[in-house]
């Protein structure tokens, strides 16, 4: 089954409910027609219907249980005016929590309900107002290298550096109260992807001074910080681009991946010219940006149709302005607004945003000077959320949401953020292409066994002196399968477990006397379930 079909699973659900009265949609008609033409494959239709039925269970996961029995969702006209507290349905509110966090907990859903849609979104957007001292303290205590300057980092052993960045990142994703901020840190980490193995300690600086500093700021500021980041200049070889001997790697990727997009209207000649414009952008000392005039090509260039006249080399350090001007041109380009909007829509809303959605967000980008919070407000509207199909969690998202569900006592995350993430296939900062870990379903589906085994690993952590500890006693004390299932539902699904799954969990608990191990396994199966892989 194709990606678009899967991505549109929820739409198909709605289609079934509505179209049964109105006649078959074109999609359905094609399905039927192709089936009629190929009677030798009768299983395909059954298979499709089965998948849709399952997707329905998953798609309605955020809804209240009473609502979960419905097939169709409310029509747009029935909705009350969005924005006012209490006016948005609980279903949509839960969808919002799923989109702005790395896993909806009961506490977070409760907070959203009491604040209402708009206030809750504003609360998450104004993240500096969210007190997060427990997280800050944990990171400062366990990951002191994150606060170090370049020379100190340089003198620190590689393993220590990357381990602490893994630990801090995973801890923050799981336990920070600034959940939307951390989700955007994850997004920009992929957008400005840098492989730790290639650049070492410089990535620790980039994480702090580029990604985390500007994740909910303005895109132009973020891009410029990245363009001045030693880690990026090293990763994409601009440090090796000197004089007439240029390396085009960064010049290409800043257009293809960071701003315009691959079909963003530039030519190979523009890549070559931009690489010449950016000669001399390099590193000084341990982790400082520098423009080195002795490495700059002062001859004339033409970039995106504009002339950069030749300069005398006596201009010296002022020639950095050529690069600044080129970057401003990229930031003002309409295709940058569209490309960034498309990627943010994909991340926050759905795999297949429509052109009109992209255009609408691009308008916000243009009007606000690339203000990321303003774009998020325009993306995460009740109307958009109501229509958005579920996305599949990436392995890291799965791992983090499992931590949020189990809420173990954490001593360190050395195993979880290193070996366990490696087994899941998404070692942080180790994607070896500059485009970041993929945000799609097909790429990650093959890791399902690793997810089941991670769930087993996490829920079996019983030692009070272990790295993480899952205290199962409160669950066991509930004594009956029904009561334990109810509590698992609250922990793993914030109270919105699909009822079929509820039955299966309860059945597993009933199949043997209640014991700590049995309950751990039931919890593991809840995390392993199909429904928990989606958000």
């Amino acid at each position: 089954m194709s990606r678009s079909r899967v991505g549109g699973a929820e739409s198909d659900v709605e289609t079934l409910a509505v179209e049964q009265q109105d006649g078959a949609s074109q999609l359905e008609a094609q399905e039927v027609a192709s089936e009629a033409a190929q009677p030798e494959r009768p299983s395909r239709r059954r298979f499709f219907l089965g998948a849709v039925a399952a997707a329905a269970g998953a798609a309605l996961l955020p809804a209240r249980k009473a609502q979960a029995q419905r097939i169709s969702r409310p029509r747009p006209g029935i909705m009350t005016r969005p924005g006012a507290p209490g006016a948005v349905s609980e279903d949509v509110l839960v969808r919002l929590v799923n989109r702005v966090t790395s896993g909806a907990t009961e506490e977070e859903v409760k907070r959203a309900k009491s604040m209402g849609f708009s206030r809750y979104l504003e609360y998450q957007l104004k993240y500096t107002s969210i007190g997060d001292s427990a997280t800050d303290t944990w990171v400062a205590t366990n990951c002191p290298t994150l606060a170090m300057d370049g020379p100190t980092l340089y003198a620190t052993e590689y393993g220590t550096l990357v381990t602490q960045l893994w630990n801090a990142t995973t801890y923050r994703s799981a336990f920070s109260k600034r959940q939307l901020y951390e989700r955007m840190v994850e997004f920009w980490t992929d957008h400005f992807s840098i492989n730790y193995e290639k650049v070492g300690y410089l990535k620790t600086l980039d994480d702090r001074e580029v990604i985390r500093k500007h994740a909910l700021g303005k895109f132009p500021t973020l891009l410029k910080a990245s363009a001045h980041s030693p880690a990026m200049l090293e990763y994409l070889d601009n440090t090796r681009s000197r004089g007439r001997n240029t390396n085009q790697n960064y010049a290409r990727e800043i257009m293809e991946l960071h701003t315009l997009g691959v079909d963003g209207g530039y030519t190979q000649q523009d890549v070559a010219e931009l690489s010449r414009i950016l000669t001399g952008w390099t590193i000084q000392g341990r982790g400082n940006f520098a423009f080195d005039p002795t490495g700059h090509d002062f001859t004339a260039k033409t970039f995106l149709g504009e002339t950069f006249p030749a300069q005398a080399s006596s201009v010296g350090a002022a020639a950095i302005q050529e690069g600044e001007r080129a970057i401003d041109m990229l930031l003002a380009h309409p295709n940058t607004a569209k490309y960034i909007s498309m990627k943010m829509l994909r991340w926050l809303l759905r795999y297949d945003p429509s052109q009109s959605q992209i255009d609408a967000i691009a308008q916000v980008y243009t009007k606000t000077g690339g203000d990321i919070p303003s774009m998020i407000r325009a993306i995460l509207t009740p109307a958009n959320l109501r229509e958005a199909p579920l996305k599949m969690k990436r392995p890291y998202h799965f791992l983090v949401s499992s931590l949020r569900a189990v809420n173990p006592t954490v001593r360190t995350l050395a195993q979880v953020s290193n070996r366990q993430l490696l087994l899941l296939g998404q070692q942080l900062f180790y994607w070896d292409d500059p485009d970041g870990y993929p945000d799609n379903m097909d790429f990650w589906a093959g890791t399902i066994l690793a997810r089941w085994n991670f769930a087993s690993y996490l829920t079996s952590q019983a030692s009070a002196t272990g790295e993480v500890t899952f205290d199962v006693t409160p669950l066991v004390n509930l004594a009956t399968p029904v009561a334990i299932t109810g509590q698992i539902e609250k922990m793993v699904f914030a109270g919105n477990m699909p009822s079929a799954l509820e039955g299966q969990i309860s059945a597993y608990l009933s199949a043997a006397p209640v014991s700590a191990n049995r309950v751990r396994e039931a919890m593991s199966l809840a995390l392993s379930s199909n429904a928990f892989q989606w958000y």
């Binding site: 699973a9 399952a54 290639k198 090796r240 990650w444 085994n453 597993y508 199909n530």
Partner: protein, 437 residues
């Protein structure tokens, strides 16, 4: 104005292998991919039904870190080798140093003593060494050079799948019902295999499966099977493949596997991987490809390929003993399945040794091919450039005179029965060099 430390990443290889550090995988791409990832640029594909019965299984071995090919296939006939390496050269086969001298392959090249276990394969005409080969891209970055070889094309950001993965995606399975067509011996799938249908990273096939208590394993497995039976794609297929693979591997007695011809696999990483691969191949369950990584080749200091106990000596010994066992067991053994083994590394190393009795990152290197249908028993070169200073790349390295893709493409075409070379190696028109029979 100074650059910060060079991009070679060598410090880390020396003091603490990053790859060991990050648990046990050498394949950092770390991705198990789903079958349907056909890149949009994929040209039209011919799913040929021919050759199927005659196709070889392929074992692809990557020596990570830049293995010193001048120690593994020694050009003893070139005096520049000895002048460039006063302390780490393998003595000539006619040297009086009988314990450490090379084993002549012809009148110019020799195997080091550490790789003696490969002599039977060479004498049987089933081992071919190709020299002065490698990637045409001049990078000396491990990171980039490994990637370029694994994806099959240098510096093309649009290609994210591996050459072997694309091969698998463009031939029909050897067994249509096989739940597992290829495996990477790693925690995360190596880039070489990315894009392959029914391809999984499996660190140890003997223990692959659902973790947790043995007593409830069947019960939990059945629970998951029923939970995912009606799940939406792509999770449904993916979970079924995983569960079927677990079932399948349980049927193969890997732990109790008895090699043929009295072959003894060394108990090291590559030895265990090749032993498992042999067991899977003989079980005839439809495995078509396996990727094995061997690390520890980034020998910037105290390289010592000469003396027993030396760092590179030991690494070559472990490798050659494992390959020798695989040759005796599978290639010279009774199984009717043909297997081609191919070894490659991201680049060779400098002709001259450095001040630390090691060698730094170079260019041209050798590849090893093994199999019944390999035109072996010889060292193949194309315009061997020699080691004289004026003939070296950047006045320091053996030149690449033969694109490694020529070698791989010929294997793909002649031994793996795949005509879609423009998909496996996009944008490259290979020259057939006669490495296969």
């Amino acid at each position: 104005m100074t650059m910060h430390d060079e991009d070679c990443g060598c410090d880390e290889y020396n003091e603490l292998s990053r790859r060991q550090f990050i648990a046990d995988s050498a394949g950092m791409s770390g991705l198990a991919m789903f079958a349907s990832v056909f890149p949009s640029w994929l040209p039209k594909v011919v799913l040929s039904e021919s050759y199927v019965a005659d196709r070889d299984v392929i074992i692809s071995i990557f020596l990570r870190g830049g293995a010193d090919g001048l120690s593994m296939c020694v050009p003893f006939g070139d005096t520049n080798y000895y002048t460039g390496r006063p302390t780490i050269a393998i003595p000539r086969p006619d040297s009086t140093a009988t314990a450490t001298r090379g084993i002549a392959l012809d009148d110019f090249f020799a195997l080091p003593r550490a790789m003696q276990a490969l002599v039977p394969a060479y004498q049987a005409g089933q081992l071919l060494v190709v020299h002065a080969t490698g990637s045409v891209d001049p990078t000396r970055s491990h990171f980039d050079a490994q990637k370029f070889i694994e994806v099959g094309k240098p510096r093309d950001p649009n290609i994210v799948t591996g050459w072997l993965g694309r091969h698998l995606a463009t031939v029909p399975p050897m067994r249509t019902d096989a739940p597992l067509r290829a495996l990477g011996f790693a925690s995360g799938l190596q880039k070489t295999l990315v894009g392959g249908p029914k391809t999984l990273p499996i660190s140890d096939p003997a223990t692959f499966g659902i973790s947790g208590a043995t007593a409830t394993r069947t019960e939990r497995t059945n629970w998951l099977k029923s939970e995912y039976g009606p799940a939406p794609e792509p999770l449904r297929s993916s979970s079924l493949d995983a569960l079927n693979t677990i079932e399948l591997l349980r049927l193969v007695n890997i732990t109790g596997y008895a090699p043929a011809n009295g072959a003894v696999y060394p108990n090291n990483g590559v030895g265990r991987a090749l032993r498992s691969a042999a067991a899977l191949i003989k079980a005839d369950i439809g495995i078509e490809a396996a990727q094995v990584d061997v690390g520890g080749w980034d020998t910037h200091a105290t390289q010592d390929p000469v003396n027993p106990g030396g760092a590179m000596y030991n690494n070559m010994l472990n490798l050659a003993n494992a390959l020798g066992a695989f040759h005796a067991d599978v290639i010279a053994g009774p199984t009717t399945t043909n297997v081609t083994v191919v070894l490659i590394s991201e680049f060779g190393r400098n002709v001259r040794e450095n001040s630390a009795r090691g060698t730094d990152h170079g260019r041209g290197n050798c590849m090893f091919l093994m199999g019944r249908n390999i035109s072996g028993g010889r060292v193949y070169t194309f315009n061997w450039p020699g080691l004289a200073m004026e003939n070296l790349q950047d006045r320091q390295d053996l030149k690449v005179t033969l694109d490694h893709r020529d070698v791989l493409a010929e294997i793909v075409k002649n031994r793996l029965g795949n005509q879609n070379l423009d998909v496996v190696f996009p944008g490259y028109v290979p020259t057939m060099r006669g490495v296969t029979k």
